[in-house]
């Protein structure tokens, strides 16, 4: 049980001394609460069936808008995010009281909350993606908040790489979706009829979006990152990994449900994925003895169930989706915060040793009991209604109602057993001594779990409020309004769902009673399954090895190799395009050449020959200089003084620099003649000469020249066209170039310094 440790020992020791974090602790809570209030006052118009859209232009050239859409679905998510966000921030302010980096924590958590709100409210595909990636990024930083530990860094990186890789597929899917739908505006896409489902690109779009959704929502087989993400401080887990981020994938599926659901691919993939994840995760949850890990796996179960229902189209299934979404967020966030209280109070999260805490922590115990009863699905809590609807929804499944209902039943029974392990055992049965003497948490850390648990109880007794305000508008948004939402009732009469509820209680009690034997059986049964987490590490190691290998192959460190590669590419490009395009015949007219031109040409040629044949380096450098100065003379003869001056200066500097370097090098050895290199040089030279002649034999396009000649003085007040182009017409390009100059100089400077250090 060595991994079961709390992540903030320093915060615990200073708990009695410091009560909060001052202004940086309070301001984020106020902001989150304000956002919650804002969304709350939007409830009446949304409940009346309205949709609010707010739009501003952002990148008009790409058709990307800063557009936000508030309907039942996005409002439900926004309320959960801002409401739980406010409670979690209140909780964190005490949980991490006096933490030296609380400012960073509060900033990251608030940034995450805002990104998540943006994600669920976005009405533009690109905007949606931007917020999607922002949540990935901020959650990476939050999971790795305790970055001094290597394990935390590794787990944060795993979450980042997996969700970001899914994000790339997601981006591609969004772009395809936008082009197939003819609009990147989500409200337009939702208004489409069956066009999208019959579109030729439907399958690729669906698969790509699904990859994004299931990596983000940690569905099997990408489930392994979520339990590792529990490296985050407990309030972060409560927020990100119960109520919000992992639900982003589910949100996406719900968002595109009206436009894309109903096909066989959609129904089967989501049903199978969801059911597999739900059952598999419930078993894995039973295996855990760390309370937080157990909760993490039950979150997976919930995500699987939500995905399963989104695969369907019936009113029962979607009503079950909307209800369970809310139920789960309430009880799961509450239980996570309860586990945080236990952890901080006793110093352990080990379910095997904890017990009897109800005496020392009565309020936490009460919150845990109510939340766990909602999770287990006891009446009169909201969880019971959620469970009844789940059964009704499962029985209404079009594909395999018996199988799906069976899967949901087993998963629910296991939930009941896990609820017992998480919320009954630590408080109500006798336990072993804990590392610290337990005591009740202070009010900010009780407010969150108690409010959330109470809501779950109240809404169970008065489900009409929830039904009218959030559930029915959500169902409307998810189905596009074709399906009648089903009522939320505590007592729906004697029916099959009720019978299944009774069966759940019985089966759950059996699972709970025989949990030790169940664990022992699972240890054997799950042993042959692939260890994805370890496989992930091997994959990363393999990637590193591959990178090292190919770097060694490509970066040989020998200049001749680099030059050779460069020349081969140049020759291939030039000759390839020459033959591919089928260039016109070269018609070089050398009749107009005067003695001046011929003299220049022979100067250049003799310089080049001298460079190649020079016996010593200094001669070769001088030969290069001759070529450079010859080029400058060409510019002078043809009337480009600016270019000529630059060429002369650069040439001088290059000769000086090369001379400085070369003179320090060992004496030139007599090299044997290498036919391959000579051939390559000849080919590159011939290709360049051919291209030059080809350009000359084309009629000169003077449009740009004419424009600059005409516009230079009246528009830029300068007669030196070259300079006017550099600093005015093309100033942005010049800025880019001088930035490159600086970067190149700094890199060379750094490399030289490094070489100097190595030499010493």
């Amino acid at each position: 049980m060595s991994q079961i440790t709390h992540e903030t020992p320093e915060a615990i020791t200073s708990r009695s001394a410091v009560r909060g974090n001052g202004l940086i602790g309070v301001v984020p809570i106020v902001i989150a609460a304000g956002l919650f209030a804002f969304f709350l006052q939007l409830t009446p118009p949304i409940a009346d069936g309205q949709r609010l859209i707010w739009t501003a232009t952002w990148i008009p050239s790409l058709g990307v808008e800063l557009s936000f859409l508030v309907d039942g679905l996005s409002l439900t998510f926004a309320l959960l995010i801002s409401g739980i966000g406010a409670l979690v921030l209140l909780y964190s302010n005490t949980y991490l009281a006096g933490h030296p980096q609380y400012g960073r924590f509060a900033l990251l958590l608030s940034a995450f909350m805002v990104s998540m709100l943006g994600l669920v409210l976005a009405n533009d595909l690109i905007l949606l993606f931007v917020f999607w990636e922002l949540t990935t990024f901020t959650s990476y930083l939050l999971i790795g908040f305790g970055h001094e530990k290597e394990g935390n860094r590794r787990n944060a990186l795993q979450a980042l790489l997996l969700t970001a890789a899914g994000g790339l597929a997601f981006l591609l899917g969004l772009i395809l979706l936008g082009s197939a739908a003819g609009s990147s505006r989500i409200s337009d896409i939702l208004a489409l009829g069956p066009e999208l489902k019959e579109h030729a690109l439907y399958l690729p779009i669906f698969v790509l979006l699904l990859i994004g959704a299931i990596t983000k929502s940690a569905q099997t087989p990408f489930h392994f990152w979520l339990p590792n993400a529990m490296a985050a401080p407990t309030p972060v887990s409560a927020f990100l990994h119960s109520a919000t981020m992992v639900k982003a994938g589910v949100y996406l599926l719900a968002r595109i449900h009206p436009a894309m659901a109903g096909t066989a691919e959609w129904m089967w993939s989501l049903t199978i994925l969801g059911a597999t994840t739900a059952v598999f995760a419930s078993f894995l949850a039973m295996r855990q003895s760390d309370l937080k890990q157990a909760l993490a796996y039950t979150t997976l179960m919930a995500l699987g169930t939500l995905t399963l229902f989104l695969g369907q189209e019936s009113g029962y299934a979607i009503t079950a989706f909307a209800t369970f979404l809310i139920v789960h967020s309430l009880y799961k966030a509450s239980l996570f915060l309860v586990v945080g209280n236990i952890d901080q109070s006793t110093g352990t999260r080990d379910a095997a040793t904890l017990g009897g805490l109800r005496v020392a922590m009565p309020l936490t115990a009460a919150a845990a009991a109510v939340a766990a009863m909602s999770m287990a699905g006891f009446p009169p809590l909201l969880g019971f209604i959620g469970k009844e609807l789940k059964y009704a929804g499962a029985l209404a499944v079009a594909s395999e109602p018996i199988l799906v209902a069976g899967a949901v039943l087993v998963a629910n029974a296991l939930m009941l057993a896990v609820a017992g392990v998480v919320a009954y055992n630590p408080f109500w049965r006798p336990g072993a001594a804990t590392p610290k003497a337990p005591r009740e948490a202070s009010w900010p850390m009780l407010a969150g779990p108690m409010i959330l648990a109470t809501l779950g109880a109240l809404l169970g007794v008065y489900p009409d409020i929830l039904q009218a305000a959030l559930v029915h508008p959500t169902v409307l948004a998810v189905t596009g309004g074709d399906v009648e939402p089903k009522p939320l009732e505590l007592w729906a009469g004697f029916n099959l769902p009720l019978l299944m509820s009774v069966a759940t209680f019985a089966l759950g009690a059996v699972f709970y009673a025989f949990r030790d034997r169940l664990r022992a059986w699972m240890d054997v049964a799950f042993a042959p399954l692939p260890k994805l987490d370890a496989a992930w590490d091997r994959l990363l190691d393999g990637l590193k090895l591959l990178a090292a290998w190919q770097t060694r192959r490509i970066q040989t460190g020998r200049l001749t190799d680099y030059l050779g590669a460069t020349f081969v590419v140049i020759a291939a490009g030039l000759l390839g395009s020459y033959f591919y395009v089928g260039a016109p015949a070269i018609t070089a007219d050398l009749g107009a050449a005067t003695w001046k031109h011929l003299a220049l040409a022979s100067l250049l040629i003799s310089g080049a020959v001298l460079t190649v044949l020079a016996p010593t380096r200094i001669t070769a450098i001088a030969g290069l200089g001759v070529v450079g100065i010859g080029a400058a003379l060409v510019f002078i003869v043809f009337g480009a003084p600016d270019v000529a001056i630059t060429q002369l200066l650069v040439e001088t500097l290059v000769v000086v620099l090369v001379a400085v370097v070369m003179l320090r090098l060992p004496r030139l050895r007599a090299e044997p003649f290498r036919a391959g290199r000579a051939l390559l040089a000849a080919i590159v030279g011939a290709a360049y000469a051919g291209v030059m002649l080809l350009i000359l034999s084309q009629p000169l396009d003077r449009r740009l020249t004419d424009f600059f000649e005409a516009a230079s003085v009246p528009e830029a007040y300068g007669r030196n066209i070259v300079n006017v182009i550099l600093v005015d017409f093309r100033a942005l390009d010049t800025f880019g170039e001088i930035a490159v100059v600086v970067v190149a100089a700094l890199s060379a400077y750094a490399l030289l310094r490094l070489a100097q250090g190595v030499a010493r």
Partner: protein
């Protein structure tokens, strides 16, 4: 390189080349020249100095660190380009002011274009010297 003539001459050449480089910079908009050429010419003076008396001495006579000069130049160029935003234009749009100008007389032209070119001058000047000095010192 130990040449008395070179090191004696360089002391004057540095100043001469610097003055010439500024002349090249300022005339650049209408005559051959500009920030790029100016920067190269200015740097040549100190390169000579480095050859004649060594990089350490040339560094000392330059006083400022050449990499900082390059960075400041980049900053000036960016600021000059961004300043167009204050006049409601797109970035890197030329802004002109003709001091003492009238219907017939053009006046003294001032512009953010000149400031931009000064930035280019400093970047080229600083980068070349950073490279040359470092090479001289390593070799």
């Amino acid at each position: 390189m130990n040449s008395v003539i070179l090191s004696a001459g360089t002391r004057y050449l540095v100043w001469l080349l610097l003055a010439f480089s500024i002349y090249m910079l300022l005339r650049g908009h209408n005559e051959p020249g500009g920030g790029f050429i100016g920067g190269l010419v200015g740097a040549t003076g100190f390169v000579l100095d480095a050859i004649a008396r060594g990089a350490q001495a040339a560094r000392a006579s330059l006083r400022a660190d050449p990499t900082s000069i390059a960075m400041i130049g980049l900053g000036i160029a960016l600021a000059a380009g961004a300043s167009a935003a204050f006049f409601g234009d797109a970035l890197f749009t030329g802004q002109w002011l003709f001091i003492g100008g009238s219907e017939t007389e053009k006046g003294l032209p001032l512009s953010n274009i000149l400031v931009f070119d000064i930035g280019v001058y400093l970047v080229v000047f600083g980068s070349v010297l950073a490279l040359v000095f470092a090479l001289e010192e390593v070799m």
